[in-house]
């Protein structure tokens, strides 16, 4: 699966999404419910804007000094007897984990939810290893695994596109589940399967919400308790993290945990807020063997560019939860493991324009993402920046070609051209205009409307009607000028 989740072109994926009425309803319902929960949890903090600014400052500072903090973190992990591996690519990260498994003759791997492990394709690698069994222990990821490794469609709620009946059917087929589709019963069934596996697991793989530089420990914010089992039962633990996922001290982690829980799930804190590392001598549980894989995989492409702020992201997913495009096309529509507005900005940075160049155009630039982002990433502006790089710098065209856009550029900047367009628009639109069937009042008063337009207008009229422009003598400019002449002021 990796970063790219689908080989289908965007338009085909959009058609699939459009047909998936259940997914659309589920996402819309989740978005609406999250809206209230999230805003409520944020309001409790008092001045949310100040908190956002603090979050932005912490993230900007950390990214500006990223090499120093990574080194500090790495040194502190080593001091405790843990190992840090810097993986340049997904392949290097995969290989490191693979070597570890072979070396230690690992048989059972438990995983807690982690986007980075999906990004680097850890699961297919594990499945290919003979004698190794793997289990996703986040309930939603477990459901996806049981459903033949279906793709996650949200970075916080991976199985948001499935309803309880679909899940019941998966459990019945794969686990012999006989019960009803009540979530509590489905969860109980999953828990029984998982618990047994947990107790036999010899490796735990987790992601990482934040890595604390000055103490060499990692911070996990979860709600199900599975991550805590993943880091306490198996003797070997591997943490996979993006290289930007670091905080200087616990103090900053506290601020970001607050922003994260409230933004991601509308809770004041997640049920489990864990800080842990290698098992210390006086501790009873925890990994004796502790590895942290720190992944670049394209992230450093953003450093020193207009896209640097995308590394501020704390993966709360709130931009997905407010996005009207995500609302309709769902996570799978994006074809990237990172969907939604953050995905449309991040995916091209990580995977390039050839693979993900269409995503920055899949936005109406409504700015809901920028408004909600708890660390103030100017997401919609970065979408425009991606478009600018593609068109102005790389000559990649989208929708309209360069010639058409240059005509628009001229027409919108040259008064005489615009005025002559206004003069001829009415006559020019005559053959296309229909007068009948007007149901909307005060919109089509100058000779009806156009329901089938050519060229650049086609995209518009495929969906909705276009008013016919008034005659040159009846437009606003003419009215204003005539009125001035008549002295009617």
């Amino acid at each position: 699966m990796g970063l790219k989740t689908s080989e289908k072109p965007l338009l085909e994926r959009l058609k699939d999404s459009e047909k998936d009425v259940f997914m659309q309803k589920a996402v819309a319902k989740a978005q609406d419910a999250q809206w209230e929960k999230r805003e409520g949890a944020r309001d409790e903090l008092g001045n949310w804007e100040q908190w956002r600014e603090l979050g932005e400052q912490i993230r900007q500072h950390t990214i500006a000094y990223l090499p120093d903090y990574l080194e500090q973190f790495s040194d502190n992990v080593a001091k405790q007897g843990g190992k840090v591996f810097f993986a340049q690519t997904a392949q290097e990260a995969q290989d490191y984990v693979k070597r570890l498994i072979i070396e230690k003759q690992i048989k059972k791997v438990v995983k807690s939810k982690s986007m980075v492990t999906t990004e680097v394709d850890i699961d297919p690698m594990l499945l290919d290893l003979e004698g190794v069994n793997v289990m996703e222990t986040d309930l939603a990821e477990f459901i996806l695994q049981m459903d033949d490794w279906d793709e996650p469609s949200h970075i916080v709620f991976p199985s948001i596109h499935k309803n309880r009946e679909q899940i019941r059917q998966v459990f019945e087929k794969k686990l012999g589940y006989k019960g009803d589709n009540e979530p509590v019963n489905l969860a109980r069934c999953a828990r029984e399967v998982m618990r047994k596996f947990f107790l036999e697991a010899d490796m735990g793989i987790t992601g990482c919400n934040f890595a604390v530089a000055d103490s060499g420990i990692i911070n996990l914010d979860t709600n199900e308790g599975n991550a805590d089992l993943t880091i306490s039962v198996p003797k070997t633990q591997v943490v996979l993290m993006g290289m930007e996922r670091i905080v200087p001290t616990m103090k900053e982690a506290e601020v970001l945990d607050n922003l994260l829980a409230r933004s991601a799930v509308g809770q004041t804190l997640t049920t489990y807020v864990t800080f842990a590392g290698k098992k210390a001598e006086d501790e009873s549980d925890g990994p004796e063997d502790f590895h942290v894989v720190i992944l670049d995989n394209g992230r450093s492409n953003a450093l020193g560019t207009a896209f640097q702020s995308v590394l501020q992201c704390i993966r709360c997913g709130s931009c997905l939860n407010v996005c009207p495009v995500y609302r309709h096309i769902g996570g799978h529509g994006y074809g990237s493991i990172y969907p939604g507005p953050i995905g449309a900005v991040l995916s091209p940075v990580l995977g390039g324009y050839k693979q993900f160049g269409e995503l920055p155009y899949a936005s109406s630039l409504c700015g809901a993402c920028t408004e909600t982002c708890p660390v103030k990433i100017p997401l919609h502006e970065l979408l425009i920046e991606h478009r600018r790089v593609m068109t102005n710098e790389l000559g990649m065209q989208h929708g309209f070609d360069d010639f058409q856009m240059k005509v628009i550029g001229k027409g919108t900047s040259t008064p005489w051209m615009f005025k002559s367009a206004m003069t001829f628009a009415h006559a020019g639109s005559a053959p296309l205009s229909k007068k009948k069937n007007i149901s909307v009042e005060n919109m089509y008063d100058y000779g009806g409307y156009i329901d089938k337009g050519p060229g650049m207008v086609k995209g518009w009229t495929d969906v909705r009607d276009l008013p016919r422009p008034p005659k040159g003598s009846e437009n606003f400019r003419s009215w204003y000028k005539n009125r001035q002449k008549a002295g009617d002021k």
Binding site: E371, I384, T391, H398, P415, V440, V463, R464
Partner: protein, 253 residues
């Protein structure tokens, strides 16, 4: 006070009544108006499509058109928000940057100007109908104007405002997005249309003709009976001068 009218290219080309209403309301409030003939478009169609280089002439043309204006009042939240972005876009242009700052500082959206600059809530309008308001994304989030149109509409006599569900969601217009990504835009505008219809409103009001052209176009395509009005048309409807607030500043001065 002399107000330079920033009609926006959509109003200029398609909706003369909106421009007329804006001029009549402003003059009724005591403002003098002028229409700088050189103005065309704020530059969003090219800029937002990533053709930033191609948008610069449009931006320069707008800056030139309104140079020397006392105050600029625009008919669309989105286009006004774009004018407010000019300083950031032109920051490396030594000649146009200071002019861009000046223009950004004197430009207002129509309802914002009435409410925040003139200090008006009631301009004497009345409209006997049940209506709902579509909040445009750029006016709300980029211009950060969340109050003015609601206050102004609250003071229209006889007007019953019903809240629009999912008011926070984009209607799917997004400028060139509506034409280049019709597959997504259609789903967005369909949900918006259904929300509008569900309110039972007889009139859909907004401060952005781009959004109204989109939602109105979908409503017409589906044969839904409704009336579309720009907020200027509402505030210019059946005006009773006796009910009008007096501007808080000396407009004649």
């Amino acid at each position: 006070m002399k107000v330079s009218i920033f009609s926006t290219c959509v109003v200029d080309l398609m909706f003369p009544d909106v421009g007329k209403a804006m001029v009549e309301v402003l003059e009724r409030c005591g403002c003098e108006t002028e229409f700088p003939d050189k103005q065309v478009c704020c530059g969003q169609p090219t800029y937002n499509s990533g053709y930033v280089d191609e948008s610069i002439p449009a931006i320069r043309n707008q800056i030139d058109a309104f140079e020397g204006a006392e105050v600029v009042v625009g008919s669309a939240g989105s286009c006004v928000a774009m004018l407010r972005e000019y300083p950031e876009i032109m920051k490396d242009d030594p000649i146009y940057y200071p002019k861009a700052v000046e223009l950004a500082n004197k430009t207002y959206e129509f309802s914002q100007f009435l409410y925040r600059v003139l200090g008006l809530k009631n301009v004497g309008a009345s409209l006997d109908a049940k209506a709902t308001y579509h909040r445009s994304c750029h006016m709300t989030r980029l211009l950060d104007e969340r109050e003015a149109p609601f206050v102004m509409l609250d003071h229209v006599k006889g007007l019953e405002m019903v809240p629009l569900p999912h008011i926070e969601n984009c209607c799917g217009f997004g400028g060139t997005f509506s034409v280049k990504m019709p597959e997504i835009s259609e789903q967005m505008v369909t949900e918006k249309m259904n929300d509008v219809v569900d309110t039972g409103a007889e009139i859909l009001i907004s401060a952005d003709m781009g959004c109204l052209m989109n939602i109105g176009g979908k409503l017409n395509r589906e044969g839904k009976k409704i009336k579309i009005m720009h907020i200027a048309e509402v505030l210019n409807n059946q005006v009773d001068l006796a009910r009008m607030d007096t501007p808080k500043i000396n407009v004649k001065g």
